[in-house]
Symmetry: C2
Subunit: 369 residues, 2 copies
Amino acid sequence: MDTTDSESASTPQTRAGAGTTRADRRVQRASMADVARLAGVSSQTVSRVSNGYSGVTEETRQQVLAAMKELGYRPNSAARALKRGEFRTIGVITFSLATTGNVRTLEAIATSAAHEGYAVTLLPVAVPTQDEVRGAFSRLGELAVDAVIVIMEVHLLDAATVSLPPGVQVVVADSDAGDRYSVVDTDQAGGTRAAVRHLLDLGHRTVWHLAGPQESFAAQRRADAWRVTLTDAGCAPPPLVRGDWSAESGYQAGLRLADEADCSAVFAANDQMALGLLRALHERGRRVPEDVSVIGFDDIPEAGSFLPPLTTVHQDFAEVGRRCVEGVLRQMREDGEEMTEPGTTLVPTRLVMRGSTASPPSPSSPSSL
Amino acid sequence: MDTTDSESASTPQTRAGAGTTRADRRVQRASMADVARLAGVSSQTVSRVSNGYSGVTEETRQQVLAAMKELGYRPNSAARALKRGEFRTIGVITFSLATTGNVRTLEAIATSAAHEGYAVTLLPVAVPTQDEVRGAFSRLGELAVDAVIVIMEVHLLDAATVSLPPGVQVVVADSDAGDRYSVVDTDQAGGTRAAVRHLLDLGHRTVWHLAGPQESFAAQRRADAWRVTLTDAGCAPPPLVRGDWSAESGYQAGLRLADEADCSAVFAANDQMALGLLRALHERGRRVPEDVSVIGFDDIPEAGSFLPPLTTVHQDFAEVGRRCVEGVLRQMREDGEEMTEPGTTLVPTRLVMRGSTASPPSPSSPSSL
DNA sequence: GGGTGTTATGTTTACGTAAACATCTGGTGG
DNA sequence: CCACCAGATGTTTACGTAAACATAACACCC
C-alpha cells in the first residue's frame, strides 16, 4: 500500500561521500536531507510535513511520512531551537526536593509544561548559599531555557546579583514576591485563618503555633496570619515555638508544648512537624484530640494515617504548578510589550477535617455535646 | 584598567544593517560575532576563549573576556549542541514523583548530573498506560537529550514498542532489568533478608509480609526475598497481604492483620504502608512493639517520628541516583565500542533499628530479658 | 488566449558555534 | 640569510532546520 519504493540506495548518512574526518559517532541520525532524498522531494517539503504546515499534497505528504518512518527520522531539536530562537523548555530552580510542596509543585509544573509542549529542565541547588544560587543561575544563562520558575525563597535571589539572561521570563512559586517577579503562591493567610478559626470555634481559648524556620517566607506568613487571626478574635497569642519543618523538630517542640498546662490547641506550620508533635504529646501522655487539638498544613498523603488522622490545611500544589507554567508562558507571549506587572496569584486552600481536633477538655467549655 | 575601549559603536545586534524582517524578539542576545567585533578579533578566537582552548595570548584573552562581560555574552547552547552533536542533557522518565524513592533518586540524579556538567530534563508520565509511555518516549526522541534514565517498571517499557532514538543510552533505576538495559537498583533482597532475620532473631516464629502492588518489581522482589528467607530459616510463610504502597492501603491491610492471633511480626514493603499498619494495630488495641513488631522499608525522613519510631530498611537513594548518572555517562563514552553488557548494579541497604520491633509476647519465647 | 491568481514545490540563506584548514608572525639553526 | 617550525590568529565551512524568496503548474475570467 505504501507509495514509497523503499529499500533504495540512500542509507541515512548525511553527505557520505565527502571524506570529512567525522567524529566517530556511529549512530548518525537521519536528517531532513536524508528523508528528502528518499522521498524524492526537497528538504523544505519535509520541513513542511514535519511541522504540519499546509500546502503539501496529501500524496506527497504520505510519501514523506513513509520516508520518515523508514529512516526513523526525528527532528533535531538543537537545530530547531537554533533556528527558531526558542527551546520550548522551562527551567525549574529549587533548593531541594526534600519537601512535599516543592516536589508536588515540580510535578505539576512538569505535567503542565508537557501539556503545552514544553520540557522541564531541573536546576537543583543543593546548598542554599548565595554562591550556589549564583552558580545555578549562571548555568541557566547558557542553558537551553526560555523561562525559569523559581521554587524558593526569593530573598536569596535578590541577594544574588546574577542577572538572568535577557529574554528569560521568571515566575516565583511559594515565596515572597519582590516586585521584580510574578509570584504564584498558596493562600497562606487564608489557610492559616481557617485553621486557627476552626480551633477557636471549637472553644479553645487560644491557639499555639509551631512555626517553620525563620528564613522561610511561607513560615513567616503563616505565623503572621496566625497572630493576626488571634488578635482579631481578641485572643492573646502565646509565645511562638519554632521548628525547621522536620518531624524531629516538631517532636522537640512538642516535648516543650506538652508541659504547657494551658496549651489545648496547636497549629503546626506543616504536617511533618505535626507528626513529631503528635509523637511528643503521646509520649507525655497528652491525648489528641481529647486533651490537645492539633492541626497541620499541607495535607500530605500520609496525614490521614497519622495517630490520630490529622486535621490539616490542604494545599493545591498542582494548581500552583499549573499557574506557574501558565504565568511564564503568558509572559513569554507578551514578551516586551507592556509587561503585565509582577502581581501575585494566590491559590486557595481547604481545611480538611480529620481526627486530631476537638473541643477543649471540660474546664474551659462544656459547650458542644 | 581595562584594555577595551568600550562604549564603542557596536551594540549587541547581529547584522544590524541587513534589512531582514527580523522576528520581533527584542531581546537579542550577543553572539560570538558581536563579541569578536567589540574585542577586535575573529569569532574563532572568541570561541577559543569561550572553550578555554590554548593558543590564545593572555592579552587577547583578556580583551575577549572584557568584551564578553560588557555584552553579557552567553554561549548559545542550541548552536553549541547542533555543532557538537550532543546536548549535555540527561532525560529522566518516570511515572510519578509521588513516591519518596523516585523523588530522592531524581534529586540525586540531578545533583550528580549537574556535577558532571549535565542538565536534567524531566519527562513525567502521569498515567502508567502503555500509550503514555510511548508518548513520553517519542517526545524524548526529539528532545534535547543524550541519554535517558528510566525510573519505573521496565516491563512497561518492553511493552512499548517505541525505539529510542539511536545513540541515546539508557539506564533503568529501581526496576527489573530486561537484558537490554543497564540497571541500578537497591539491594532489595539483602534489605529484606536483614529485616526478616532481625525479626526471627528477636524470637518471632514467623514474619508476615505486607507487600506492595503486584505490578511493582521492587515489591515482587521484596516478597520473593521474604519468602526465601523464611523458608531458609525453616519457617512457613504466612499468606501474603497486599497493599498499593499508600498509607491507607497499609491501614486496610492492618485491620485484617490485627485479627490474626498468631501475627506477632510484620514486614511492610515500605514505610508509608507501615504507617497505616501502625494506625490499624493501634486502633485494634494491639501494641507495637509489645504485641506486634513492625518493620518498614525505605527509611523516609518521618519514619523516626512514627508512633512508635519505625525500625526500617534504609535505602540509599542518593547512591542509586549517582550510579545511574555514572552509568549513562560511561555508556556514552564507550558508545559503540564493545558495549559493556547491561549488568545490574546493586546498592546496599542498612537496617535502622528504632522502636517498632521487639521480642514477641511471652507465650512464644521468654528468651531475651 | 494572455493576464492573474492560487497552490505545490524547490532554492537560498541565516541561525550561532566550532572543527578544519589557511595564513601570518617571529624565532632558530644550518 | 633563508628554510623551517611553532604558535597565534583569521577564514571557510558544516551542523539541521525553517523563513523568505523563487518558480512552476494549473485554473479562471474577461
